[in-house]
């Protein structure tokens, strides 16, 4: 899925609303952008957490859902032909001898640009890990938070935990591959798609899988090999479900992740910036949206939009050190209208 090293004007980390609007502001100034996001779709929290929730404080949109806002921002950014590298985490950032920055993702995609914009919101969305003491000893051998290859689970005895679509989908998909599957959920009802729940119940009825109404209480095993998962419920007390693999699916949480190691000044996991250019402590690296902090900061989408516009002005000077930037309006400038592909 990766391509050879891409060189561009600006690399944006995070394709949430603020990252998407940054494409637009940079694009008006003639700058091209490439975006990286850990999710498999653009939109950030708007897409992942609240696609259907109404937002009431976007200027000129009295009400808009998270999903609609993303759609509109994508439409607004489209004339500038942004390139997205989705399902990838920005992992390493290094300064090159030519003055550019090189960003490498966890899939090995290399993106080179004179300007980096961190628009990472609350951080990367990563699977929630149950706070069970010692669980990290089993991660990667017996405990998995995602399924990359189904073959990994052939002939294994699985406990799958959770009540959402991931838990249900993997229960259905892994059942033919695994030696056994036990689905564990805290209640008899599910928020997953009703169709998947019905299929799961049908499999449970004929004994092809087991469904336990319980919560996970602990792990049993040694040397990274799981031998069972402790389950508990108010009705049945505690018992051990023998298994060699646990797949917990409790949704996603946000973590700053590798950005913490980029060498930027941080204040309580937020990136400190100035309020003129929204540049970090490292020249040519900017931070906009929820991830940044400055006196008076408000974590609002509209603040991030403003920050994107001011960031773009300085980004222009880094990309074109010899050029003068003339301030123009989209209402009157034929140059801007050509870039917007409306003239």
């Amino acid at each position: 899925m990766t391509e050879p090293r891409v060189t561009t004007d600006v690399v944006i980390i995070g394709a949430g609303p603020v990252g998407l609007f940054a494409i637009f502001e940079l694009g008006l100034l003639g700058l091209k952008a490439q975006l990286v996001d850990i999710l498999d779709k653009p939109g950030g929290q708007c897409a992942e957490l609240y696609p259907e929730k109404p937002i009431y404080d976007i200027p000129a949109l009295p009400v808009v859902t998270g999903g609609e806002l993303v759609e509109r921002l994508m439409e607004q950014a489209a004339p500038f032909e942004p390139q997205f590298h989705l399902g990838q985490m920005a992992e390493k950032l290094e300064k090159l001898d030519n003055g550019n920055w090189l960003l490498t993702t966890d899939l090995g995609q290399e993106l080179e640009a004179p300007v980096i914009v961190v628009a990472a919101g609350g951080g990367s969305f990563v699977p929630k890990k149950p706070p069970i003491p010692g669980i990290e000893d089993y991660e990667g051998s017996s405990v998995f938070y995602a399924v990359r290859k189904m073959e990994t689970f052939r002939d294994r005895h699985l406990v799958i935990a959770g009540g959402g679509d991931s838990a249900l989908d993997w229960t259905l998909n892994l059942q033919p591959v695994a030696a056994s599957v036990t689905l564990v959920h805290r209640r008899a009802d599910f928020r997953a798609a009703p169709d998947s729940v019905e299929k799961m119940r049908a499999l449970a009825e004929v004994g092809k899988i087991k469904f336990e109404v319980a919560q996970i209480g602990g792990l049993e095993g040694a040397d990274g090999k799981l031998s069972g998962v402790k389950l508990k419920s108010p009705e049945r007390g505690e018992w051990v479900e023998p298994c060699d693999t646990l797949l917990p699916f409790y949704g996603l949480t946000m973590k700053l992740g590798p950005i913490a190691g980029f060498g930027l000044n941080l204040t309580e996991n937020l990136i400190a910036v100035d309020t003129e250019k929204f540049e970090t402590s490292v020249p040519q690296i900017f931070a906009i949206g929820d991830i940044n902090t400055y006196p008076g900061k408000l974590k609002l989408i509209l603040s991030g939009f403003h920050e994107a516009a001011l960031m773009a002005q300085q980004a222009f000077h880094y990309v074109h050190p010899d050029k003068k930037l003339r301030f123009q309006y989209t209402t009157s400038s034929s140059e801007l209208q050509q870039r917007l592909k409306v003239a």
């Binding site: 957490l49 609240y50 805290r186 009802d189 409790y250």
Partner: protein, 104 residues
């Protein structure tokens, strides 16, 4: 009016609230380690608390949406609530809550 909160280390906190505040907004006034990642729209389960049983009984029951989102919380108990969905009123002056374990 006050919320009496116990943090994950057993520390006791009394936090002032005003009628109409959500419990989450009050709890995040102090650093009790509540992340409330989604900002209070019942979309993340990172503001999970246990409400003392006598106070739990005084709350309107959770919506289906909240019950569904509690599926993404850990160590859910009969008096578990997502604090962003608990609206505080004068009748809840003195409500006692304990912060639930955090995700790694």
């Amino acid at each position: 009016m006050k919320v009496k909160a116990t943090d994950r280390e057993g520390g006791q906190h009394e936090i002032t609230f005003h009628e109409g505040d959500t419990l989450m907004v009050v709890l995040t006034d102090e650093d009790l380690g509540i992340r409330a990642e989604c900002g209070g729209c019942c979309a993340c389960a990172t503001c999970h608390v246990y409400v003392a049983p006598e106070w739990f009984a005084k709350l309107p029951p959770p919506s289906d949406e909240e019950t569904g989102m509690l599926d993404e919380a850990f160590e859910v108990q009969p008096t578990s609530r997502l604090s962003c969905q608990v609206l505080l009123t004068a009748a809840l002056d003195g409500i006692e809550v304990t912060v639930a374990p955090d995700w790694d």
